[in-house]
Structures are given as structure tokens and as C-alpha cells.
Amino acid sequence: MSLDVGRETLAATGQDGETAFLSVLREALDRLMPMHLQLGATGHILHAGPSLQKLRPDAPLAGRRFLEVFELKRPASLTRVSDLACAEGGRLKLALRDAPRTGLVGLVAPVPAFDTLIVNISFGFNIIDAVQDNDLTSADFAATDLAVEMLYLVEAKTAALREWKALNQRLQGAMTAAEQQASSDMLTGLANRRAMEEVLNRLITAQTPFGLMNLDLDFFKSVNDTLGHAAGDHVLRRVADILKAETRANDVIVRAGGDEFVLIFVGLSNPERLADLGRRIIARLEVPIPFEADTCHISGSIGLTVSDFYTATDAELMMQHADMALYASKRNGRGQVTVYSEDLPGIGESAPGD
């Protein structure tokens, strides 16, 4: 039914054509577009759909000026309601002027024959705020409006996402635990080689000065061979305790292999102080360790170097140098500390600072 035909039909009934026509249509419009407005030529609201009226239950919208109730955000700077349909294809961006200032989108259809505008309004992306602010139910939306389906999806996806997040958190926890296990030695609880590389890289990147000490236990093999692995394990745990006691909390103690340890002294790069500390460690290692009915005798050899010896610090080179110093200690009769220097035998091809 075209509008003109409708008008003639209504005129024939003898009623005031415009009013009668709109009131006949009103019921249908309220059902199809429960959030629509009918605006008169003066810019007053002639009628508001039931769901739109529900946003302001205590203040009837009909009779008020459209631009007093709604702030027009786009198109901006329009003052005459009659221009609404012209700009941007009749698309509007609106907000209610009083709180809650729900944002809205609108579409204008002029009905020139009756000098009226029909504006259909929707919440657009503000729908979640809108349904919370206004206690809306499915009945407030036309069955063809996808708003309820969208809310269902948002809620279903939110619930699913919550489960995913919980799973991620549990996996994160398991990963941290696994990483900790992977970076520590099971027997002594000391860091392992993997952790050592990470620490060295971190110190070198941050250009933090540090001392690097390689420690090999002496006579450990004979403890293992004569008293068994249980005694060996006991000795290793005792060594770990001594090393922990002789170092500071932020120094890093690594069990690098069977009876090889690496100690990294963060921020401590004075070779004399480190050599003193090394001698103290050896003295404590040489204290006999009781195990069941037996007593274990071990000692230790130490080689050390410090980051101050190098202009460009290279972890691999420092490890090599600490090893050379360690072998010097062993060659010279064990139970002693050697600080790396260029004069050490066998260093010809790897002079420091290269």
C-alpha cells in the first residue's frame, strides 16, 4: 500500500487525514520498529515507539522537541530537523542528553506527504551498556532485530573466553614450574647450565660487572668409588650448602656437571677478594664430611676471571679463561685458587681483549 493510496482511503473516511493515517500505521510501526520516533515539521516528537519510551519511563517523549531530548553528534551543526534526512543519507549518530547518556544510531525516512519524519533508532555498539542501564528484555526488541542474537553471542563468547583464560592460567603455572625444574639441578637444587647461560647473557647485556669462578671437586671420584653413590650424593649436597653459605643471595651457583661447579658473583669483580673467597671455600671443603660410619675427604680447585679483564665481555671466552686458570690450579697440586692472566701456560691463541 503506497502512502498516497493510504491517504486517499483515510480521507474518504472523513477523518483528519494525517493524524488518522499515522495512528493507523502507528501500531504496525511500534511492532516492526519499537524504537522509532515520528517527528513533526516543527521538530517535535509526535510519537515514540514503546521500547524507546522505556529508556525514559517517567518522562513521555511525545510533545518534546527532538533536539532537546537527543544530542545530534553526526551530522554535526544541523539545527533544523527538516534537514536531518538530507545529510549523510539520513544516518544519524545520537546520544540522549540526560543520564544515562546512551549512545544511539538512527536512520531517517521522510514522509513528505504528511510533512513528517520517521526516525528508526538502534543502540549500535552501545547495546551492552544500554541493556544493562535499562533492564531491557527480548520483548523490547523486534523479532527481526539481531540485537538479542548478538547479546547471546557476546554472553556465550564471554563464558567460553573465561574458560580459555582459566586454562591459560593453569598452563602458565605449569610452565613456570616446569621451567624452574628445567633450570635447576634435582640433587642439589642449584641452578643448571641452562640457567647459567641465561644469567651470563643477562649480566653481559646489562653490562653488570661480575666475577666468574670454576670449581672442580678434588678426590670426589674416590668417594664415589669407595663409599658408593649415596655417599657421593651426600657430599654434593654438603658442597651445595657450603657454597650457598659462602655466597650472597644474588650470586648464582651452578652445578655444571658431576663434580663441577660455576659461581657467578654479580657486581663483584675484584680478583683479590674473589681469590680470598675461593680459598675460604676450599678450606671449608677440606673439612671431613661424615657419612654414616665413614668420613669423606675432598678438596677443590678453583680458577677465576672477572668481567673487568675484558673490553667486550664474551661469556664463552670468560668460561675458557676460568677453565685455564682451573687447570693451572690442578697442575700446581690442587686445593688452590688461580686468577686468570695472560701468562698462564697455553693461552697463546686467545689473548684477552681480542
Binding site: I128, A130, V131, Q132, D133, N134, D135, L136, T137, S138, A139, V148, L151, Y152, L153, V154, E155, A156, K157, T158, A159, A160, R162, E163, W164, A166, L167, R170
Partner: protein, 202 residues
Amino acid sequence: MHGLINRAVQCFVRDIYGADSWATLGAATGVGTGGFESMLTYDDEITFRLLDELCRMRKRPAEDILEDIGTYLVTHPNTRAIRRLLRFGGQSFTELLHSLDDLPDRARLAVPELELPALHLTELKTGRFKLEVASSRGGFGPVMAGVLRALADDYGALAFLQLQSAMVPREVLVIDLLDAEFAEAKQFYLGGGLERPAEGAQ
């Protein structure tokens, strides 16, 4: 079976019979007390082992326990999200019944891996419906009976439900809707689940 289904059973045991019961059941079935991850998929066999063991523990037939699980899913505060998502199915109990055919698709929209049994509703005559529930080994029929009984309550409808066949691949549930507006429906605001996120079946 999807983790969400397994976890629903786990949460049911924990919330209704207590944490100790779950610990016993988890240990007896080899699932462990930590239980299921809701977003992983498990072998179907695990779910049935869990149910068998639960029936033995509670000395009750599977049908009864499954129906209690259905009721739990709609009525317990911890599964509030599920009740809300089901209520999106319609504005009245009748509308909800007619939306059941789409339920598996709706669930897949949220969690693509979640496979629910195929549901098919026919209106036998005014006020009398037949719901067919199809799954490989059955068991979802009694769950749906519990779910729909609780939902009828939620909508304020008076309905009589009868399982004509259960625990078989093709289960049949007959629903007699005696009075669609027997009592006042519990409110369902569209924004109710978003403001304060529901706890989920944790």
C-alpha cells in the same frame, strides 16, 4: 566428549555431593582430583567410566543421576551462565521448546568443538510435544529431562515430562505443557549476565 561436558559432571559432583566425593571419584577413575580442563576434548570412554563409577558410589541408576545433572545445570548458582544462555532460546517455555532444534548449533557458535546430541521437537497436539535426543550411546535424554523440568519452573510454566526411552542412542521425552503461565516467570534481563560476569562451571 568435550571438556565442558566432563567438567559439568565434575562440578555437579563437587557442588552437590561435596569435594570429598569428587576426590574419591577422580581417584577411582584415574582422572585425578584436578579433574578436567573445560576447553580440551577427552575420549568418550572416560565420561562413561566416570558415570558408571558415580552410579556405583551413589547406588543409583544412571538415569536418575543424569536427570539431577540436568536440574543442576539450570538451577545452581555456579552454572548461572548456562541458565542464562538457555533462556536466550525464547521468551516463553513454548518458544524455548521450539528453539531446542537449534541448540547444538547455538552451542557451536560459542565453542566450535562442543558437540551436543541432535535434538528434534515435534508438536504431537496442542500442548503435547515429543523431543527426540540422538547420541551415539544415549544419556543426554535424562539430562534434557532435568534441564527442561527446571526451565519450565524458570519460565513459570507447569509441565509434565516423561522419558519414554532412555540410555539408548535414540531417547524420547514427552512433554505435556499443562499451563504456560502457571506461576510468575523468573526475570530475565538481557544485560543481567554481562554486568557481573557469571562464575561459569568452575
